[in-house]
């Protein structure tokens, strides 16, 4: 296969598209790990849940309320899904995760992994795993844009833009605002921060809610591109964990940069040697772990 610059650019754009999803998901994981020290394995399932909130809101909510013509539109879903899932996250943190802070990391991982399996199992019971297409894509985002080197679907451009906007807004809040400094201080020394009159347990609860809300947001953004299916999260989450490991656990900027660049690396691999496309990220992970075990952007702990 000859590699014209158009082909490479086109694959880089697609890589950026998938990379934006990696970034937003790994960012949520990094925020949660940073503050809660929990490796949130339920992230993929909550991403799936976000997509389902959008799908069911569009297809089922109207008939359920007795208004068959009512569809919860895409823009509303972008707000509602993170709120619904974020609220579920708050419940999970309050009732379950809270009990595990004093014990080993492993328990949090097992608990969230169990939650993921339950969620996925329940949805598999009611919905087809081959996926249902989400038809609520807004009119304004339909069609394609001519980028000279390729026709790029408008919606995909939007998904890159909005994901990046959310990522950088999160980075800004955590690294550049007072609220962010409380959060970071809470990570370093919770009891001292609490002594200053800051409600650390509440902050932790809300952080978890925010982290999983971001996963749900990504789910809504993904719904019109990929089919909505109960297993959409489990397919993605393994790769996202690799991204987090490569970037360095708990590093905000690290997650964003690693997510984007690994997405593009995957895109390039799809043209150069397609069979390796699914594994190239894991090769990178092995390489990084051998050379810099704390991750590209991580600090040694």
């Amino acid at each position: 296969m000859h590699l014209s610059y158009q082909v490479v650019l086109a694959q880089l754009m697609l890589g950026l598209n998938i990379g934006a999803f990696y970034a937003i998901l790994s960012l949520g994981l990094a925020v949660i790990f940073g503050l809660l020290n929990i490796i949130n394995f339920a992230h993929g399932a909550l991403y799936m849940l976000g997509a389902f909130v959008a799908l069911l809101g569009y297809n089922e909510l109207g008939p359920l309320l007795g208004m068959p013509d009512f569809h919860m539109n895409y823009w509303t879903a972008l707000l509602v899904a993170p709120l619904v899932v974020g609220f579920l996250g708050v419940l999970i943190e309050k009732t379950m995760l809270r009990r595990l802070y004093k014990v080993d990391h492993l328990y949090g991982l097992l608990l969230t992994f169990g939650l993921a399996l339950i969620l996925q199992g329940v949805f598999t019971n009611y919905f087809n795993v081959s996926g249902i297409s989400y038809n609520g894509k807004p009119e304004i985002l339909r069609g394609a844009v001519n980028l000279k080197f390729m026709m790029f679907p408008t919606y995909r451009l939007w998904s890159i833009a909005i994901s990046l906007a959310v990522c950088f807004a999160t980075w800004f809040v955590i690294e550049r605002t007072k609220l962010g400094s409380y959060l970071r201080a809470g990570t370093e020394n919770p009891s001292l921060v609490q002594a200053f009159g800051i409600n650390v347990p509440l902050m932790i609860t809300l952080t978890y809610g925010f982290g999983v809300g971001m996963a749900a947001f990504a789910g809504v953004v993904a719904a019109p591109i990929y089919s909505v299916s109960p297993i959409m999260g489990s397919e993605l989450i393994i790769t996202v964990f690799a991204v987090v490991v490569i970037g360095g656990m708990g590093s905000i900027m690290g997650s964003i940069c690693t997510g984007l660049s690994l997405g593009m690396l995957e895109g390039l691999t799809k043209v150069i040697y397609p069979p390796a496309a699914n594994t190239v990220i894991f090769f990178m992970m092995i390489l990084v772990l051998l050379v810099k075990p704390e991750g590209l952007f991580g600090k040694e702990q």
């Binding site: 082909v7 598209n17 795993v129 081959s130 089919s227």
Partner: protein, 404 residues
């Protein structure tokens, strides 16, 4: 010496006759039919619950009894995994005493079940699998390949597409036995008709994002992008091809295995004008319409060729038991091979020694939205291709149980 030989021959003949007589009637006093299909995965819309309904209809229409014994139906999900399919088939054969297994939506599963069938003398009638290896390298005296195969489909569609100007091809292929087999056969027909193959890219089963593969197909400059995949994969690929402006850019998408449910799911807007091969279309003639309306009343959708094929397969099997007077698998297979199979599904059908059920195939075209008068008015039949022309001949085949 000669006399003793005669005695021996007579003796064995009598013994043999006694054995056949012993096999008459229905073993275990019930005929059990198992539908093993994909209940929840990428192929569930093609077979799934619809196949079970079709099998139920076939049994009810037969009167629920054969040779005075009840017919029982069981079903299970093979999840498109060969190991699950073979475990289930083994369990059915050993503990449930199932006489015939049908459905089998993917080639991996069908090959696994056919192998168990050979070992346990259980008849398997694959209606959903495509790979021609079922009736060649891995053929079995108890295996039947009923609806279509990866030779007949491209033979009917591939040639027709090349002849109407689609000279250069690029394949998007599902990366397993079925996809490989479909790609290989299609490529051969494309070349035989004077076309050429510019390249191919393989994708895993159940891929959600085809964009990268589609761009490679686009960059190849091929006139026709051949999709050697099926079900959900086919639908996703076609949808995304439009999203990226591939069809608008002048390239044609050609599905090598398309089911009615796929066309319905894509909608006429997206699928219009597409040519493909099929064994069955509900609106083909009076008989097919009549049965399909009954099926529609039960399920709310029109049957795919696979679902209609399950009904036909079960009916043919039951007829053979009745004719043979026994459910002994050897006798039933022998009877089936001697039958003419003509019903609402199969036209000019007959079962060959290699297990291939040869019947007429159809080249169809997806209607334009303006041509469609009803929700399921989706296709028009362009050409009827005689079975012996569409399917691979016995001479070309490599089935070891067939004497050439």
């Amino acid at each position: 010496m000669k006399k003793r030989l005669m005695q021996f021959v007579t003796g064995t003949t009598i013994l043999g006759m006694a054995m056949v007589a012993g096999a008459a009637g229905i073993s275990t006093d019930v005929v059990k039919i198992g539908v093993l299909t994909d209940m929840s995965g990428v192929y569930s819309a093609i077979g799934g619950k619809g196949s079970v309904t079709a099998a139920k209809m076939a049994i009810a229409d037969f009167g629920g009894k054969v040779l005075g014994k009840p017919i029982k139906l069981i079903s299970a999900d093979h999840q498109n995994k060969a190991d699950i399919a073979s475990t289930k088939a083994r369990e059915w054969a050993d503990t449930d005493h199932v006489d015939m297994i049908t459905g089998l939506l993917n080639s991996g599963c069908a090959l696994a079940v056919q192998k168990i069938g050979t070992e346990k003398k259980v008849i398997s009638i694959a209606t959903g699998a495509g790979s021609t290896t079922l009736t060649n390298e891995h053929c079995s005296p108890y295996g039947v390949h009923y609806v279509y195969d990866t030779y007949a489909l491209p033979k009917v569609a591939g040639g027709a597409i090349v002849d109407t100007g689609g000279k250069s091809w690029f394949f998007l292929t599902a990366d397993y036995a079925f996809g490989h087999s479909l790609e290989k056969n299609t490529a051969a027909f494309v070349k035989a008709h004077g076309g050429k193959v510019l390249g191919q890219v393989r994708h895993p089963l159940a891929t959600s994002d085809f964009s990268s593969y589609l761009l490679q197909a686009q960059a190849s400059g091929a006139k026709v992008i051949g999709l050697a995949n099926a079900g959900g994969d086919f639908i996703n690929a076609v949808k995304q091809a439009r999203e990226f402006g591939i069809v608008q850019g002048g390239q044609t998408i050609a599905g090598m295995l398309v089911f009615l449910s796929d066309v319905k799911s894509l909608g006429l807007d997206v699928a219009q004008g597409m040519n493909f091969a099929t064994s069955f279309y509900w609106d083909r003639d009076e008989a097919s319409r009549k049965w399909s309306q009954r099926y529609f009343a039960k399920t709310g959708s029109m049957p795919t060729m696979n679902q209609a094929g399950v009904y036909s397969a079960v009916t043919t099997y039951l007829k053979a038991i009745k004719k043979a007077g026994t459910d002994n698998p050897d006798a039933v297979m022998k009877t089936m091979r001697g039958m003419k199979i003509n019903d609402f599904f199969s036209i000019n059908g007959h079962l060959r020694a290699d297990g291939s059920m040869v019947h007429d195939m159809f080249l169809v075209e997806v209607k334009k939205p303006s041509e469609s008068k009803a929700p399921w008015d989706l296709l028009k039949v362009i050409k009827q291709v005689p079975g012996d022309e569409a399917f691979m001949s016995l001479a070309e085949g490599s089935c070891s149980t067939v004497k050439k």
